[in-house]
Amino acid sequence: MSFADFMLRVQSVDTRIIRVLVFLAILIPLVNPLPVPMVVTDAPRTLYDFIEQLPPGSVMLVDTNISAAYRPTLYGTAEAVFSHAMRRGLRVVLTSFAPEGPMFNEQMIESVAVPAGKVYGVDYVHLGYRAGGEGAVAEVLRDFHGAYDTDFHGNRVADIPIMQDVRTARDVSLVVIHSAGGYAGGGWVRQAVDPYGLPLAVSVTGVMAPSHYPYTDAGQIIALLSDMKSGAEYETLIQRPGVSLAGMGAQTFAHILIILLIFLSNVSYFANRGRRAKK
Amino acid sequence: MIYPDKYLSLFTLLAFCAIIYYQIRSQQQGAPLPWMRPISGLSAIDEAVGRATEMGRPIHFSPGVGGIVDEEAGQVLAGLQYLGYLAEQAGKYDIPLIATMRNPIVYTMAEDIAKEGFARAGAPEKYTPETVRFLSDAQMAYAAGVLGIFKREKPAANVMIGAWYAETMMLAEAATNAGAISIGGTARLFQIPYLVVTCDYVLIGEEIFAGGAYLAKDRVQLGSLRGQDICKAICAVVLAAGIVLVTVGATGLRDFIAQYGR
C-alpha cells in the first residue's frame, strides 16, 4: 500500500472516531486539570495591581451577568477576582442585572467566601437581581438603599452592616462586571464612569471584546478581560487554579488535536493530488 | 424637524433608493440587459435539484433563524425567494421538499410561498402540511430538530440561505455528514466562515440578495442589481476621496460624515 493509499484510508476514517477523540481531548483535562503555563497579559495584571493597591475595607461592586451557557467562559474570572478581593480584605457588594446572575453569585460565595471564613453582611453582601438593564444600574448607583429594600436572602438592606457605608456610587472604589451580553461595558461606562468617575473593570466573552476596544482606548475601562483565557491568567496571578485553568487545559488539547487534523487532511490532499488530476 | 445629526443618513437612503428605483424603471422600459458576473453558488441550486431528482431524496431548505422585525429582515426575506424557486422545481420534478422554520411569522410566510411555488409548477397537490415545518422558537431546539431530520430523512441537498446564527457550522457539517450537498448563504458576517469551510457552494454577503436576479432574470431584479452596483461605485469613490483628503491632512469630509451620518 502506497503512502497516498494509506492517507486515503486515514481520511475515510469513521467521523465518529474523530468525535470521540475531540470528546476525550476536552474531557480528560477537565477531570484531571493539568498545570497550563499561562503568560499573564496586561489586562489581568492591571486589575490585579489595582486591587493590590486598594486599602483593605474599600468597597468593590460586582455585577454578575452570566447565563448558564457562558459559565465556562466567564465564571472562572468572576470567582478568581472575588477570591482576590476577599483575600485583600476588600468589602464586596454582589449584584446582578440578569435573572440568572444571582445563581453564580451564590456559587462564588459558597466556594470562596464561606471556606475563607468571611462574614456575610460585614465582609460581603449579595443584593440579588434587579430588572431593567441599564436603567436599573443607574438607579442602584444613585441610591443603593432606594433600589434595594432587601438583599437576596430577604434581609433588610438598612440592617446590613456593610450597607451603612454603601449608599451611593461615591462609596464604591472599584466596579467589576462580568457580562455575557446586553448593555455590558458600554452601559456601565455611561452610568458609572461618565457621571461618577468610578474605576471599571470588564470581563466579557471573546466575541464581545472587540466592541469594548473604544472604551479601553479612551481609558474609560481600566482592564478588559476576555473569555476564559483572562480568567486562567488571573488564576495564575493569585495562584489559585480554578475552572478557567482547567478549561485552558481542554482548550490546549482541543486546539492541538484540530491543528493535527488539519495537518493530516492536507498531507492526504497533497499525497493524492496527482491522482485526482488524472481522474 | 429632521434630526441634524441624521441629515446625511437620510440623504444616503433617499439617494440610493432613487438610483435603484431609476434603474429598475429603465430596465422595465426595455433598457439593454446588463452583463452579469456568474455566481457559482447559484448554478449549484439547479445542481441540487438535479441531484435530488436522481436520488429520489428530499431537499432541505431553511431561511435561517433570524427574525423579521430587525435589520436582518432583508436576509430572511431574500432567503425565502429561494424557497419559492425550490418549491417550483420540486413541483416540476416531483421532489419532496422539507422547509424548516424557527420564526413563527417567517413560518406563516413560508407556507404561502411554498404553496405558491408548487402551484406555479402546476402541482399544488404535492404541497403537504409536512412540507413547511415549524420546529421551535428556541434556537438550539430548532437546531436539534434539524439534526434529527438530516439523519432520518437523508436529504440529497441542503439549501440554507438567510440569517444564520451560532448553529450554522453544526447544521452545514451535519448535512454533509448525512450525505447531502450543501449550499449556504448569509450576510451575517461571523457565520460566513463556517459556510465557506463546510458547504459545497456559498453565497457571500450581498450575493444572497442578488440571487433573485439570476434565478428569475426578471427586469425588476436586474435593474435593482444595476442600481446597487452604482451605489457601491459611489461609496468607493467617496471613500477614495476621503482617504486622499485625510492623507493630506484635510479631515473635513470624514468629520462631516461623523457629524451628520448618525
Binding site: - | S136, L239, I243, I257
Partner: protein, 198 residues
Amino acid sequence: MISESLGIWMAGLLSIAIFSYLLGDNPVFKLAEHMFVGAGAGHAITMGFGNIRDVGWIPMVRDGRITIIVAMVAGLLLYSRFVRGYSWLARWGVAVMVGIGTGVLLRGLPAAQILAQIRATMIPLNSIDNLIIILGTLGGISFFMFTFKGNAATHNLGLLGRLAMMVCFGAAFGNAVFQRTGQAAGAIQNMLKVFGIE
C-alpha cells in the same frame, strides 16, 4: 420534590442524551430531541401567552388603550388560514411585521453599515496597516460588483478584497475553535456533575 440532585441528574443525563447524536442517530437522542423541541415550543407558548396578556390584554382592558385592538385583531386574523376562503386575511398581520422589519432595515443600515464603515476607513495612507485596510475594503466593494465588467485593475483589486475576506474568515474560524471548545466544556461539566466531578 425540587432538589438540587434531581436537577443535576436531569441536566447531566439529558446532556449525555443530546451528545449521543455524535455516535449516530439512536433512540436516546431521538427521545431527547423530541422532548427538547416540544419543551421549546411549550416555552414559546408560555412566553407568547404572557406577552398577549401583559402587552395586549391588560393594557387594553384595564388601561383602556384601545389602539391595541388593532394588533389583537391582526393577531387573531393570522388564524384565518384555517377558514377556507378567508385565508388571505392572515396577510394583514404578516404585513405589519414585514413592514416593521423593512422599516427598521431601511432606517438603520445607511448609518450603521454604510456611513460608519466608510468613515472608519477614511484613514491616512501612511502605514502598511492602513494600506491593507484601505485596499481590502475597496477590494471587497469591487468584488461585489455584479454588472460592471471592469478592467484588470479592478479585477486585481477584487482579488485582493477576496483575500482580505479569507483572512477575516480564517480568523473567525480560529476564534470559533476557542469559543466552541469552551461551550463543549460547559456541556461536559454538566455531565461530570452527575459523577460528582466539578
